[in-house]
């Protein structure tokens, strides 16, 4: 992965979230507080401004740290802390260099997912973004281990992520705001899972076309 690709992933993710902002808010309205799209869109606008600013770092680790700080300080809510933690931890696995190999990128992704779980204490099946992150990471690692190119793996993960997000619908939430609804949370897709799928789509879009 190049530093340029990394930046373009975040610009693309920002576009996708802005496009889907109202939908994410609507999903959050059903089982939360109707702000998930607004929160992420606000954060990603800051990310884009930071990444696009003159003198913004070009090395991967610094760039990733910058994204993490921007998310942490502008998203707010549960998703802000989780995305911020994820990026800050992932930065530790990336080199202070303009590029890294696929294995390093995958290792950074694993760090990100671990950080989300250690910050939020959610397990698979709790109806949170972990329900997309964890299996998506497993698929990524398996694909790359089987020798699939990063490019192809990213596309596969992006496709799978959409399904994973949809599959959160029947679950009863056990973490986050939706958990307060108890059984009433079933029958609705988890908004953080949908935005996580958008992230993987952004990754695939950029990696596949560059």
């Amino acid at each position: 992965m190049t530093s340029e690709q990394f930046r373009r992933i975040w610009f693309r993710f920002g576009e996708l979230v802005t496009e889907h902002r109202d939908e994410l808010n609507r999903l959050d309205a059903a089982i939360g507080d109707a702000d998930h799209g607004t929160n992420l869109a606000r954060g990603l606008a800051k990310v884009a401004a930071d990444l696009g600013a003159d003198g913004s770092p070009t090395h991967l680790a610094a760039s990733c740290r910058q994204v993490g700080m921007a998310l942490l300080s502008t998203v707010g809510g549960a998703s802000g802390a989780l995305w911020g933690s994820a990026l800050l931890r992932a930065a530790g696995a990336l080199p202070e260099a303009e590029t890294c190999d696929t294995a390093t990128a995958v290792a950074a992704a694993r760090q990100a997912v671990d950080a989300i779980q250690s910050r939020g204490h959610a397990e698979l099946g709790d109806k949170t973004m972990v329900d997309v992150w964890r299996p998506a990471l497993a698929l990524l690692e398996a694909s790359v281990a089987e020798g699939m190119s990063g490019r192809k793996a990213a596309v596969a993960v992006a496709e799978r992520a959409v399904t994973l997000a949809d599959e959160t619908a029947p679950l009863v939430a056990r973490r986050g705001r939706a958990s307060y609804l108890g059984a009433r949370s079933a029958g609705h897709v988890d908004p953080g899972s949908v935005s996580t799928a958008l992230f993987w789509r952004a990754v695939a879009d950029i990696v596949a076309t560059s």
Binding site: D35, A78, G120, R175
Partner: protein, 336 residues
Amino acid sequence: MKKVLNRVEDVVDEALEGFQAAFPTYLRRVEGTHVLTRTRPKRTGLVGLVSGGGSGHEPAHGGYVGYGMLDAAVAGEVFTSPTPDQVLAGIRAADRGAGVLLIIKNYTGDVMNFEMAQELAQSDGIRVEAVVVDDDVAVDGSLYTTGRRGIAGTVFVHKAAGAAAEQGASLDEVRDAARAAIAHVRSMGFALAPCTVPAAGEPTFTLGTTEMELGIGIHGEPGTERRPVATADDLANMILGRLSEDLALTPGSRLAAMVNGMGATPLLELAVLARRTGQWAREAGHQMDVMWLGEFMTSLEMAGASLTLMRLDDRLAALIGAPADTPALRQGVVHD
């Protein structure tokens, strides 16, 4: 959506300016942040108290910054937890050298963002303790692993811990006072009409003309149950029964109560709930030390209310009864 606003994006920022404009002797905004802190900080060597959360709960939390309660309040966007850097600014503003207690309402976002700030402040060398308020009996803590929510009872926790801090208690003692308050406070609310988050522009849920939501939180969420509307007395009886059971009250308990409006319900109607709350306590043989009646922890313009009971021992009774001088809560002798 019709609201008294300029640009939706600016509402929190402008409201903070407005609070500062209205209460200059109480509140000062920490420049460049969403933190309101005391205009006259407490003296060095006393424990600082920080609370906060999303906006939309006014007078919480800025309204409780002042003598006998908080030292800093951190405001997020409407119904959105503030970010760790903002909470850190609040901790720095509140620190008078004796450490800082964070009073967090039990929401995933609040807990995580406050915890991250706590870690950052600790690595800066500030002693920080945290308590998490989870007074809402509507949510069954044993079934849903996030646990109960923190709602209006949080203000009693501000009051108790704030009084302890003002009296010179150490950080551990203030934290323990807060924990004792949390252990003895329970709340539950209902909504007759939803609210509209400015950025969303639409009501957070819809209700039929004869329906209500029972077991609501304070973020415009629907409740744990939808039910036909009930009379004020039936609502009070039902909620007080739940609180009483959860607190395992026995006749003769000493209580503080809070009748809290969610935003749009007139004080006239809240007073009808207060009447039944007083009657209920008498009938159950309890001693009602104090009853707070008003809007303490709101959910924008939601219609509805929550009831809170706190079981008092001598120590908690003294802390709840101690003087306070904040924009939203003032008690103690103002004349002779």
